[in-house]
Symmetry: C2
Subunit: 451 residues, 2 copies
């Protein structure tokens, strides 16, 4: 019975059977892959499972206000607004939930007042004038509020509130045209929204809370550690004694700084939420959250310099050392000293943040690294021949790198032109390729012009 | 009558009068500042005003389905769901609106089906069992759906849909316990949501549409232009003939590339929305939008190299040239050639994207830049003395920059420790500062250890 093994070579007496088998096999592979992915997501941050259960819990809690008859009689059909609020307000971190909940509550309150006011004005204009005036009010307020969302400060902190403001104002203004007991309706809705917000807050704060502030704090320490790992790897794999001629490309330490480069959006949103959070654990209410953004910006700048260094050491080959071995050795020693001491300083800074201790222990390492820089400079400036040329040659090296970058961009734009079928230029440019003057230089250029 | 001039020196006969005057003055300043800000926001992108009006228009249109009696009789109170849909779905770009609208419509449909199914199962368990079973269903589906939002692919494209799915399922499951005519209610709601989505789509697509794809396309060209401006500035201000000893810090061309560095989130969201958009103008439906992300990543890498160069030329002073003027001149010329030709190539690439023409016209410039790089390499490798040391000295220069970066981070962490009142470390470390070996080197180190 070799049926259903999924092997493609054997075709049994029933030709569709192996096909079905391989299909099942494929499907099973897909499902296993998907389950492994889910497992990984859960393992990376187990609080995600907790959060999912918390959302379920809050929703079930709030549903009970609907099932339990005495509560239902008090709120009427408005009880479903509590459900709606929970779904929309419940967020991963305490700060985000607080920000959304407060935004929602205050925006609803303000919009309900204005909506009732608009209704009072509109009814003065009679049955025919009322809908026209209400429509006008909705248009003006919605347009103005939408425009205010383009102001960066409002976008950052009150975007959700403005959206709820438009929503509630329109709802109140529109339903005021039909509803008989507007005030009672508004009151019911507001209380159900408050119930929803309070349920969310209790669940996020008291059941395994995730604090945006704490995450921001830890992220700063983790990023410092990543920068330190890069410098440690640089010391051992690139500047150390036993470094061979093997290619550095693909070494893991050359990748660690990359995630730091893209940390800005995460840090911005965490900081934004952290400012809404009350004091918790080791953090006071007015903890200087904005300082983490400053540290983050400097971390990214450091990672950016690491990127430049990475490109340089992976692309430019070392020439065979024949002359001046002493000077080379001196420079190498200084490099090793600078990178290892900086790495130690970064590790100490990370530890200082983790333990919330003043970073005094980083001082000696920092001083040693700076001293090594000074020594390096004096070493280089002693040899006038080299010092003269070095400055301009370094700039040239960096500019040459920009040429390589530009070439890469050129390639990707060409690919875009091919994929998107850009039209070909009308007059084909007659370009003369400037030949490399002598045959010595290694990187020969082969570019087709006017293709 | 010197009253109300707001001058602080003169105190008139009525002491609160000038105070009030200065208050009014201050307030007026604030208001003027705010109005100017609004004007700038509108001027930067006039489509923002159009968008605000479009939101007002869509809301007013949809409100009329409520005011007009025959329509109202068809939909009942559910008509307010059309208003709700418009507020939530209407976005700045066509792609974002389409993405939200389709997400909302399909998620509502799916969740309504499942909700009705859950209700059918729950009623089998009698009056007491029903709310318990419904609560359980809500818990399980809400938790599972919330967890699915942590999967990056779902987060990127269907986040809003999942949230609406949870919302609708809970609403249907919860209200099914009370509502008599569930199917009719579901039908009404679905049609009002469709009305809302269609209103939004018509307004965004037919009234001054803002296409995410077009914005993404333009952004790529603008960023290429910025990179070109940097290289042009570099050529004229730093490598040109008449460059004096004036400091380069604060020159505008050293800032243009910075906005490119932070373009990733904008590009990601625009690309995400562009994929939902139908063909429009010069773009087909399956335009290769992902290629723009590749170009963007390379642009950022180029900007990152520019950042490294910027830091180098603003911090390291040029030594007074005494020896080898010829070699220096050769290197300088090569630099000038590399940067100006790369700049021209980038300008051509930008033009190619703007006009959607194949970028053949960038070829000669690219070839010239690469040829200059080759010449530079051969120039440098001719002088064995320098070539020997240059490689390791360049690495040393880049590592020395990392020390400076680390020092900056150190300073900002220290500031954090001060602001957040970190505790002082218990055993004060006794560190010996390694003194700079000789008095020649310019950057003297003054770090207090064990403070």
């Amino acid at each position: 019975m070799e049926v259903g093994t999924g092997s493609n070579e054997k075709i049994g007496f029933s030709p569709w059977w192996p096909f079905l088998g391989s299909l099942v096999e494929k499907l099973r592979g897909r499902v296993t892959g998907f389950l492994n992915k889910l497992k990984k997501i859960a393992k990376d941050d187990p609080r995600r499972i907790a959060h999912s259960c918390k959302v379920g819990l809050a929703l079930t809690l709030v549903s009970f206000s609907y099932y339990v008859t005495p509560l239902f009689d008090g709120f009427g059909v408005s009880a479903i607004w509590a459900v709606l609020t929970v779904v929309v307000v419940m967020e991963y971190t305490v700060g985000a939930t607080l920000s959304k909940g407060l935004n929602r509550a205050f925006a609803t309150l303000l919009a309900a007042f204005l909506g009732v006011g608009a209704h009072q004005i509109a009814i003065l204009f009679g049955e025919k004038g009322e809908p026209i005036l209400l429509g006008l009010f909705v248009f003006i307020l919605a347009a103005a509020a939408t425009f205010s969302r383009f102001i960066p400060e409002i976008k950052a902190r009150y975007d959700y509130g403005v959206s709820i403001f438009i929503l509630t104002f329109s709802l109140v203004a529109v339903s005021s045209y039909r509803a008989e007991e507007l005030i009672q309706l508004a009151h019911q809705r507001l209380s159900t929204i408050v119930i929803g917000v309070v349920t969310c807050l209790c669940t996020t704060i008291f059941v395994i809370p995730v604090w945006a502030g704490e995450d921001l704090h830890k992220l700063a320490a983790v990023n410092l550690d990543k920068l330190a790992s890069f410098l440690e790897g640089l010391g051992s794999e690139c500047l150390g004694e036993k470094v061979g001629s093997e290619s550095l490309e693909g070494k893991p330490f050359l990748q660690v700084h990359k995630s730091v480069l893209n940390s800005k959006p995460t840090e911005d949103s965490l900081c934004n939420f952290a400012r809404w959070e009350p004091g918790h654990g080791r953090f006071r209410f007015r903890h200087p959250w904005k300082q983490y953004l400053k540290i983050g910006a400097l971390n990214r700048r450091c990672a950016s310099s690491m990127e430049a260094l990475t490109t340089y050491i992976t692309t430019s080959a070392e020439t065979q050392a024949t002359k001046e071995p002493e000077l080379r050795q001196k420079i190498r020693t200084a490099c090793l000293e600078m990178s290892s001491e900086s790495a130690k300083a970064l590790r100490e800074l990370s530890k200082a943040i983790r333990t919330m201790t003043a970073p005094a222990s980083a001082n000696p390492h920092m001083a040693a690294a700076i001293a090594a820089t000074g020594e390096l400079r004096s070493t280089l400036s002693k040899d006038a021949d080299i010092a003269d040329v070095l400055h301009v040659a370094t700039i040239a090296t960096l500019v040459a790198e920009l040429v390589v970058r530009t070439q890469e961009i050129f390639g990707s734009v060409e690919e875009l032109a091919r994929l998107a079928r850009f039209k070909s230029p009308e007059p084909i440019p007659k370009a003369t390729v400037k030949p490399v003057s002598d045959g010595e230089s290694p990187p020969h250029v082969a570019i087709q012009v006017g293709e």
